[in-house]
Amino acid sequence: MSSSGFTLGRLSLSRRLQDRLATMAAAAAAVIVLTPLLAIFGYLVVKGVGSLSWSFLTHPPAPVGEAGGGVGNGIVGSGIILGIACLIGIPLGVGAGIFLAEYGRNRLGYFIRFTADVLNGVPSIVIGIAVYGVVVMRQKHFSAFAGGVALGIMMIPTVTRATEEMLLMVPQSIREAALALGIPQWRSTLSVTLRVATSGVITGVMLAFARVAGETAPLLFTAFGNQFWNTKPNQPMAALPLQIYTYAISPFDEWHRQAWAASLVLIAFIVGTVAMVRWIAGRGMLKGAA
């Protein structure tokens, strides 16, 4: 007859309880976190949809006190400013990213990467101050161009990082194959490697774009905003986020309504961009920066 020394104790109540509580607390956290998200989107739709109309999207603001008007100039203005931002941010960002990926495994590269991180963390309003000093004060007036510069600068770190990461993911064998064929390095970088990494770079660019599309602070004293139609980049220009801000802090109910509607338009645009990014990243062979 064997008397086994092997017995199982009971898991103490306290430990079982803690396990249970931890699970509940974590689930509760998830619920609490998702509530504002749903609330924000919900309110945007409920409060904003009513004011959406073709005229809303195509007309500039009406004079105070009059009904109607819209954010047409803001939409166009944002488009122009963002266009300028892309002209600055994308080439510089991609170029820097290529440099870091191909030639950046040294101290200079490390330093540049660090600086890009620093730039990423600079509060957007501070960037606005700097661009004000460099561009607006020199030109003696606000302009869409200045706004574009500010937003373009903000795009650079994200685009740089995405480009570098994508290029680094390209298998070395492809690079070597190009070199073996006698193609000079810079050429192979541009035509071979970049092509392979393009989908990832595009997602990075789109993410940077979606981020700056919603930025208001850097535009406060660069593009400044504009009540009327303007498409000249050298003058103050309206932008959707700026208009939302102006309307939101105004004392007029009508403008509040328009603020919600304009926000709905803005968020639809941003979420649409982000969703597209995820879709491309999911489809593409190489994972995007998302």
């Binding site: 430990r15 803690q18 396990d19 931890a22 699970t23 607390a25 974590a26 689930a27 956290a29 998830a30 976190v33 504002p36 998200l37 609330a39 924000i40 309110y43 945007l44 510089l92 960002g93 170029g95 820097a96 440099f99 870091l100 330093f111 540049i112 890009a116 991180d117 620093v118 730039l119 963390g121 600079v122 509060p123 309003i125 501070v126 101050i129 000093g133 650079i156 770190p157 994200t158 740089t160 990082r161 990075g204 993410l207 981020r211 599309a213 919603g214 208001t216 602070a217 406060l220 004293f221 986020p241 939302i244 801000y245 939101a248 603020a259 926000s263 803005l266 941003i270 995820r278 920066a289």
Partner: protein, 296 residues
């Protein structure tokens, strides 16, 4: 390519020089006193940044107090407890929070959050914890509390995202070691994962702090824009970023503008230090692999 890369350095150098040169006037006029004086009197030409520093620090601290437990909770839930099918949806939704522009947070905070605070939360806090002195005074809805809450919602995604990444970086054998000793799931998470990821989580929190410190639009829309230092969280206040947003264009004299820019310089330096510390901590835990920073 090299030029592009160098432009990054150039831009940062430019930002710094702009900030420094244009603050010179104010720096000379007030020296260190600037950061310890509470007098903000544009008319009289007296400028002290203390109320804004106070506002920035307190609103950010409040934001972290609220956001950190929730962010870690969500991260643990998504990584360890969530049914696999839900995982992608929930993590996508949390990241969506990061995509909402600051001005829209501000809009929602003015018209939805502030009334909720004014009508439900603030009376509750005043009646239960009013004795602390933190929840006294008129219940406007907007004020320091509102700023702290909206900031919490805004920094939560980045803290959660980094916490998730550093948790995933913990090697599997660590989890097994804890389980093999006879641990419950929570104990395994606590000892085998969270404990090992500590440094990285702290890094994520500090990164969130960096974000909160520099946040402008949502804060300026609900903090009340009143430069004062008051113990109660119900009171309106001001922050460094929001005073710049409000008064930069109004600055009528050179000294005034220089003072505002000096606040911008201070903000730049503070966020720089905070972000560098945060990056170092996160790098340490993920073994040097770059962490996604495109979550703003």
């Amino acid at each position: 390519m090299l030029l592009c890369a160098l432009s990054v350095l150039g831009i940062v150098a430019l930002v710094v020089t702009e900030l420094v040169t244009r603050s010179k006037l104010s720096l000379h006029e007030f020296g260190w006193k600037f950061f310890f004086s509470s007098q903000w009197d544009p008319v009289g030409g007296e400028f002290g940044a203390l109320p804004f520093i106070y506002g920035t620090l307190v609103s950010s601290a409040l934001a972290l107090l609220l956001a950190v437990p929730l962010a870690i909770g969500v991260a643990v839930f998504i990584n360890e407890m969530c049914p696999a099918g839900l995982r992608r949806t929930i993590s996508f939704l949390v990241e969506l929070l990061a995509a909402i522009p600051s001005v829209i947070y501000g809009l929602w905070a003015i018209f939805v959050l502030a009334p909720i605070l004014r009508n439900h939360v603030q009376p509750f806090l005043a009646s239960t914890m009013g004795w602390t002195g933190l929840f006294t005074g008129p219940k406007y809805g907007i004020g320091m509390l509102a700023a702290g809450v909206i900031l919490a919602i805004m920094v939560l995604p980045i803290i959660a995202s980094i916490t998730r990444e550093v948790m995933l970086a913990v090697p599997h054998p660590q989890r097994e070691a804890v389980l093999a000793l006879g641990a419950t799931r929570w104990e395994m998470i606590r000892i085998g994962v969270l404990r090992n990821a500590r440094a990285g989580i702290v890094g994520g929190v500090i990164l969130g702090l960096g974000r909160a410190l520099g946040e402008t639009m949502a804060v300026t829309m609900v903090i009340g824009n009143t430069p004062q230092i008051v113990k109660s969280l119900f009171a309106p206040a001001h922050s460094m970023a929001s005073v710049i947003a409000n008064e930069f264009s109004e600055a009528s004299t050179d000294l005034y503008l220089s003072a505002v820019i000096e606040i911008g310089l201070a903000l730049f330096i503070i966020t720089l230090i905070v972000n560098v510390i945060a990056r170092a901590l996160v790098w340490m835990t993920t073994g040097g692999m770059p962490v996604r920073a495109d979550v703003q």
